[in-house]
Structures are given as C-alpha cells and as structure tokens.
Amino acid sequence: MNPEKNYGLDLRGIKKIYSDFILDITFSVQRGEFVSLVGPSGCGKTTTLSVISGLLEPDEGTMYLNRRNLLTVPIWDRAIGFVFQDYALFPHMNIERNISYGLKVKKIEKSKTISRTNTLLDTIGLCGYNKRLTDDLSGGEKQRVALARALAPNPELLLLDEPLSALDAQLRQSLRNEIRRIQKDLAVTTLYVTHDQEEALSISDRIIIMNNGSIEQIGTPEEIYSFPKTRFSAEFFGKSTLLPAIINDSDSCTCTIQHNEYTQSSMHYFQAQNTTVESAEGCFFFRPENTKIFTTSDTNSGQNSNIFPNAKVTGCEYNGTGYFIECSWKGFSLLAFSKIKLVPGSLVSVSVHGSNCLFVSDEKI
C-alpha cells in the first residue's frame, strides 16, 4: 500500500529528542478526515503540531502532506493553517485585516481578497464584523475569527491546538459542532488537539491517544471507548474497572484475577477476531454501564457472565441518569452502575457479561 496515495498527512518515525522528553510518532490522516489528538498535558500534542507546522524541526523521520515532502519546505510555504490556543489574533489589526493577512502575503488580487474575507465572515456567522477590533470580540468570536484566518489561504491541512480550552462549557459544545460543520463543508484535512475526551469522542472521525511522547492507540471513537488496547487508553476515556489478571486460556478467552493471595479464575472476556494479546499479564477491564447489580443472592444471569459476589457498597454518586456505585470486593475497587440508589455498607453482587469485558495487556500493542 502506498501511503502517499491514500493519506493527506503521513508521518513516519518522526522523532524530536529533548533531554527529558522524546517525541516518537507515526500516523496518517486521510484527506478530508477529522482526527483528534488527545492525551494528558505534556504528552507531546503541541510538540507534534509544531513539528507538522514547521515551527519545530524533527530530528528524524519523514513527513508528507498530499505527496509533498514537508521537511524540505519552510513553514511559510507549507500551506498549513494553524489555530492557536490563545487565538493569536493580531491585536493591531481589525478583523478584516486579520483574516486577509494570509491572502495579502500571497499577493492575491485585492478584489478576490475582499470577497474571500467576506465569504469567510459569512461562514463563521460574523457578517459585518470587518472593521471591529479584536479586543471588542468575545472569546467565542475570537475563536471563529482565528479559524477563518487559518482557512483563508485554503490550507491543505488545518491544525487546531486546543481551540476551545479557554471557553465555558456551553459555548465549547456549540462551537465544536460549528468547527466540525465548517470542516465538513470545506473537506479540509484536520488535526485537532484537545485534552477533553468527551470533545474528542463527539466530533472526530478518528482519535489518536498520546502518552509520554508516543502513540497509545489510534481508532474511531467507538473503538477507542469500547476496545481500549492499553491500560492507559482504558483509563483515559471514561470510567472503568481495571483488575490485575493473567490469561488462563486465550482460546476460550478466560483469565484469572490475581492479587496478593487472592485469585478468581474463569473470568470471561471478549477478544475481537484477528487480534492477539501480546502479553499474558495485564488487566481485566469493563465499563460501569455494562454491569448489573443484584441485591438478592439470585445471581444466575446466564452463560459467560462474570459475577463478583458479596461486594460491599462504599460510594454512590448520582450523575443524572443513575448512580455510579463504588464497591469494595476482595480488596479491589469495582465501579458499577445502578438505576436505583444504594446505601453504602450494603452487600451486593455485581455481574458483567463476558462480551462486555476485555483483557488489556500492560504492553503496548
């Protein structure tokens, strides 16, 4: 497979080495695709964007954008739009001059520049804002202008570095949908950095999870949420229970939960076809919303169900649709979900079907 044909952006073995941090990444973004880059702060997301945009030069690796070798092109010729976390709107220029800056630099005809600027103002819903100063804009408006400015010279790739992090929750939600709409309309290849997992799940075609300078997992939001491949991915997205385990039999997909002296064998888990587990040691994983809670001793819920009997409720947290129930079971902490409120101290059985459980190896796949 020739990657250059199918992918808009293609990074292979890109390395940036610092004394206390090493960035080492390989990934591709298809033409017109919207990919989110998520991870905790300091994991290398912004460094990745800087390397792609040309603000930083990588120490190793290759980087192509629509078949062009980016590494031989200086930043000003890369045709990559960049929306910064702080918007970076030029304070000494009005909105119109901000948006048209990239066009003027390219010496585009004046009439075309004006019409393009007005079209973009229309696209972001700020018609008539031409002469306003950047100081007079709200945070959300600044963010839109920054987006329009980055899009003005028709970039081949759009990079967004946590563009919504300075805004309040409600505005974030409406703006992220707007960004997605504009991106779809223009079909611009987009790499979107965020540390907000919910944001990434809701707007991305695919998600790249980064940790400590390298990539943990790449997949669709559904894959990332339901089938985390590493312990880090499992913990980063949503609430979950992770119990130390060893595989008994990879054919029948059973493992043994093991901790100090305590073991519980024949725990069923799900494994997708054509996948392998690299290490027999790892974690038994499930999400709270896939659990069932029984207050009676009748726990017969069928084949391939994993039962955690005699779990003691230690916490009960309401989230609007139900209760997250924290239980203590044989010294482990389990997270379950219940429609009804449970009193801390009461004894319950937690059951979760094997098809909703995963074995997550400690090693990266």
């Binding site: 945009s53 000003w76 970076a88």
Partner: protein, 562 residues
C-alpha cells in the same frame, strides 16, 4: 536536504541581534578597555603593575571613594524617606488628587541634571527665591539659608532628583501584590503595627531594596550636580575627579584607578539591583491578586486626608519650586547687579538675535543637541531591539549572561565612557571626529534605558503571533515588519523618547569629549552657570524644559494616535 527551520525563522532577527552585539565592541568595550589599561601602563606605555599598586595605596583615591559612598548613602536615605510615604499613599488609597503625585513624580525623571542644578541655585541660592522670601519676612539683609556649595546641597538635589524612582518602583510593586496576607494576619489577632512590621515590610522589602540600589547607583555616579553644587575639591566624587584628573590635571593613571573603583562598586550595586528585581518578580507571581486593587483601595479617613494633603503640598512644592523658579527668573532682568528686578524678555531676545558672548552659541547649541540626540537614538534604538532579541530569543537558556552584558553600560558611568572615547580620539589624533564620538557615547549611554523599555514588551509578546503569521505564509522579514515591530511600537516609542531626553540633557561624556567649537545645550548651561550669568542660563533652561515637555507630549500623542 534538511533545512534548519528554527534558525531560518529567526534569521532576520538574528541579524538585528548581531548588529547590537557588534556595535557594543567598538563603542563600549574598546573605550572602557582604553580607560582601564591606563591603570596598568606607565608613561612610556609599558605594562607596569607598580602603577596600579601605588594607586591603591594613594590616600587621595580612598578619601574620594569614601566621600562618594557617604554622599550616595545619605542621598539614598533621603530619597527613600521622601519616596516611601508617596508610594504608600499612591498604592494603598484612592482619592481624587492621585494624578498630581503621579505627574509630580515624573517631572524629575525627564529633567536633565543640569536643570536641577540651575533650579537649586535659583531657588535655594543666597540670592535665590527662598532666601529673598525669608529675608523679606524676617527683615534681614543676610540670607538665612546657606545651602549651596556644600554636602547639604548635594544631598538635597539628589533626594529631589531620585525620590520619584522610589515612588514609582515601590508603588508599582505594592499595587500588584495582594493584601490577603495582611487580612489573614488581622484575622489571627495581630494589630496594625505588628502586621506592618511582620507581614507588609518583608513583602515590600525587595522593592525598597531595588529602588535604593538604583538610587544609590545614580547618586554614586552623579556628575553635574556634584560638579556645580559641590563647589570644590572637598566635596568631590569619583566621577568629578575622573573628569578633573583626565581633562584638567592630565593624570590619566589616577583617573583610571578611580574608574576601576567606580566600576567595581557600581557592578556590586547593579547586582543587588538585579537580584532584588528578580525577587520582586517572584513575589508578584506569588502574591498575585485575584481581585483588582480598585475594589480594595480605601478612601482615606479625615486625619489621613489631611496628612496626604500635606504630603502632596510639600512634595509638590519641593519638586516644582526650583523648576518654576528657573522659568520665572528667565523673564526677569536687573539694571544693575544690586538693583531690583523687573519683568522682561531681554534674555530671549538675546537668545534669538545672534548676539555677543556665550549666547551667540545658542542656536548652534540647540541644533547640535537635537542632531546628536536624534542620531544617537537612530543608532541606539535598532541596537536595543536587536539586543532584546538576542537576550530573549537567540539563546534563552543563557539569557543571564547576555542580560549582564547589556547591563554593563549601566555599571560604567558616562564619564568613564566619555574618557575612553577621548583616549581613542587622542590615538586617532583627530579631534574633528568628536561629534561622531559624542553621538556614539550618547547611543551607548541611552542603550540600557531603551532596553528597559523594549525588553519587557518583547518578553510579553506572545510567540504565537509570529508563529501564526509564519503559518499564514509570511516570511520572517515580513513577520518582523508587519507583526512584531507594530506590537513593540509603544515600547520603542517610549524608549526613543527617553533616549532623546537623556541625550538632550547629557553633560558627563559630552563635557569630556567636546572641543571649543562643539557646544550643546547642557554645555551652554554649564558655561553660563560657570560665568554666573544665571538669567541667561534660566532662559536656556526654560527652553530645554519646554523641549522636554514637548517631546513627552508628542510621545503621549503618538501613543494614543498610532
């Protein structure tokens, strides 16, 4: 092929940076070296350590050093004592007349020292306004206050000239640190005095130390005030003696010995200043206020209002009386030396008609000064911008080295610098280049002040502006001119205005470098004062004050307009 993008990105600003660095070598390091080597060579120009050791044993050098330190110490104490209440009032209270303190405290900042000298002579002198006023009240013919030409005059003038530094530095810092720790102290039962001594004082101490160090530095290397108001060899300081030894007694060895002591002591003080500045920044970050001061500021109580009023009146009078005296006297005239005065425009007429004597030089003094100031700014401003880039972007990890490098012109007094240029011009054997030398000296002298304006602006300028412009397709040169320069505009204008104002009033290096034909406004003032032609001096001084006011008005206008 791999391009080094980072380097490519900053190539244009590195060019500016190296321009600044390269400029420093012939214009600063070479002349300073020329001065210092005089302490280690004998008259036949051979290396001799004996010269240096004999200099160190000379009682003359240590007497001068002792007096210099003493007057600087006393002046600093006076300036802090006057300045601290002002800083307290300005930062802790909100009231209507606040702008008066601010305005009054900026006046000495923009005044050349020679004008301060003139103002002191006119106001405090034996025949000055204060003594005339007192004599008419007490009906005596003997002036009751004999201040001039004494240690008192030096300290008073230094206090006048420097207390605004204390006000602006301490108040600026005090406004920024939160008073939550004081409130916490009150809630734990500490009384006001106890809280002030145990919480407030340690908190504002770095700002006081910082302003004290700066004031001490300025008083230590002060020149014109000592030269005129000191009035003789007994009230002489290192700087004045360097000038006398070099240009009057032609003893370059003594001058160099004094220069070494001056540079060593100034460097130590400068270090204290830099360290306390660093602590202030740390404290501001630590005590950062969450609520703006406006909502906390309290209106003073009745007794407080009276005290504040008295302070404003006294400080205002202290600052404005000498200046107003100069302006007023310039419109006065006397028929005979002992005769009564009357209002006239005589001195201005003499200034504008090319007349006789010193005044015939007026026109060329003004044109020289303006030309020198503009040329010096034209060199120093680009150099300062370049050096700022050098310090902050080229190698940020080693910024302390380059920061020390540029701060050195502050530790080397302008008299020493002027002497260095003088020695260079002697080698060249051609004094006709001395206007060029004066311009260069002024460029170096004003450099630290422009840097102090430009550096913070560059430090606060977000990197993302330039990155955004680059990603939009602008090349580095374009990024610099279309984004970075406009963003630094205010800082550059304010630095330039200060540079021009300092150059217009500079007398230290100028006096050493100027030949008979070269005259500037401060030199003209110095000659007029030296020949006791105070009326004419006042007229020239008034024009200089008017020029400074005009300059700063233009600056304010540009800042609003651009």
């Amino acid at each position: 092929m791999t391009l080094r993008f980072r380097d490519g990105t900053f190539r244009f600003t590195s060019f500016l940076a190296y321009f600044g660095i390269i400029l420093l070598v012939p214009l600063f390091f070479l002349p300073v070296f020329m001065v210092l080597r005089q302490a280690f060579v004998d008259d036949a120009n051979n290396f001799s350590l004996a010269i240096f050791t004999s200099l160190l044993r000379s009682s003359y050098i240590w007497r001068i050093t002792g007096f210099t330190t003493l007057q600087a110490l006393l002046s600093t104490i006076l300036a802090i004592a006057i300045g601290l209440p002002g800083a307290y009032i300005l930062s802790q209270f909100s009231f209507k007349g606040k702008f008066i303190i601010r305005a009054v405290s900026t006046v000495p900042f923009v005044l050349p020292p020679i004008i301060v000298v003139l103002g002191f002579v006119i106001f405090y002198g034996n025949n000055g306004f204060l003594n005339n006023f007192l004599m008419s009240i007490f009906k005596t013919s003997e002036p009751p206050l004999k201040i001039l030409y004494s240690l008192k005059a030096i300290i008073l003038a230094h206090g006048f000239y420097n207390f605004p530094i204390c006000i602006s530095l301490v108040a600026g810092y005090w406004e920024q640190v939160s008073d939550n720790s004081e409130l916490a102290s009150y809630t734990m039962g500490a009384k006001k005095l106890k809280t002030f001594l145990s919480i407030t004082l340690p908190k504002i101490y770095p700002a006081i130390l910082s302003s004290a160090a700066l004031i001490f530095l300025f008083c230590f290397t002060s020149f014109a005030i000592i030269l005129v108001l000191g009035g003789g060899p007994w009230f002489s300081t290192i700087e004045v003696e360097i000038y006398r030894q070099a240009r009057v007694s032609f003893n370059l060895h003594s001058a160099a010995g004094l220069a070494i002591i001056s540079i060593v002591i100034s460097s130590v003080i400068l270090m204290i200043y830099l360290l306390s500045q660093k602590r202030m920044m740390g404290n501001i970050a630590g005590y950062k206020k969450s609520v703006s001061r406006k909502s906390i500021s309290i209106k003073p109580a009745a007794v407080g209002s009276i005290l504040i009023g008295i302070y404003i009146a006294i400080a205002g009078l202290f600052v404005t009386a000498p200046i107003i005296s100069v302006i007023f006297r310039s419109f006065q005239s006397q028929l005979t030396r002992a005769g009564s005065t009357y209002l006239s425009l005589k001195w201005y007429q003499q200034l504008f008609n090319i007349g006789q004597g010193a005044l015939s030089l007026t026109a060329s003094a003004f044109s020289n000064s303006i030309l020198i100031a503009l040329s010096a700014a034209a060199i120093a401003v680009p150099a300062a911008i370049g050096l700022s880039y050098f310090i902050l972007t080229i190698n940020p990890r080693k910024s302390y080295i380059s920061e020390l490098l540029f701060m050195l012109p502050l530790a080397v007094s302008s008299v020493i610098l002027g002497l260095g240029y003088y020695l260079l011009s002697n080698i060249a054997g051609n004094l006709s280049i001395n206007r060029l030398l004066i311009v260069s000296a002024h460029a170096i002298i004003t450099l630290p002040f422009i840097l102090r304006a430009v550096m913070p602006a560059l430090r606060n300028m977000r990197q993302s502006y330039s990155s955004a412009a680059l990603s939009l397709g602008a090349r580095p040169v374009r990024v610099f001119f279309s984004i970075e320069l406009p963003l630094l505009k205010n800082a550059i204008i304010s630095g330039s205005v200060f540079a021009i104002a300092i150059s217009l009033g500079e007398i230290n290096a100028t006096l050493i470098l100027a030949d008979e034909q070269t005259i500037t406004i401060p030199l003209l003032l110095y000659r007029l004062i030296g020949s006791y032609n105070f009326y004419a001096a006042c007229a020239v001084g008034t024009l200089l004050v008017a020029m400074c006011i005009l300059l700063f008005s233009v600056f304010e206008y540009l800042r609003e307009k651009l």
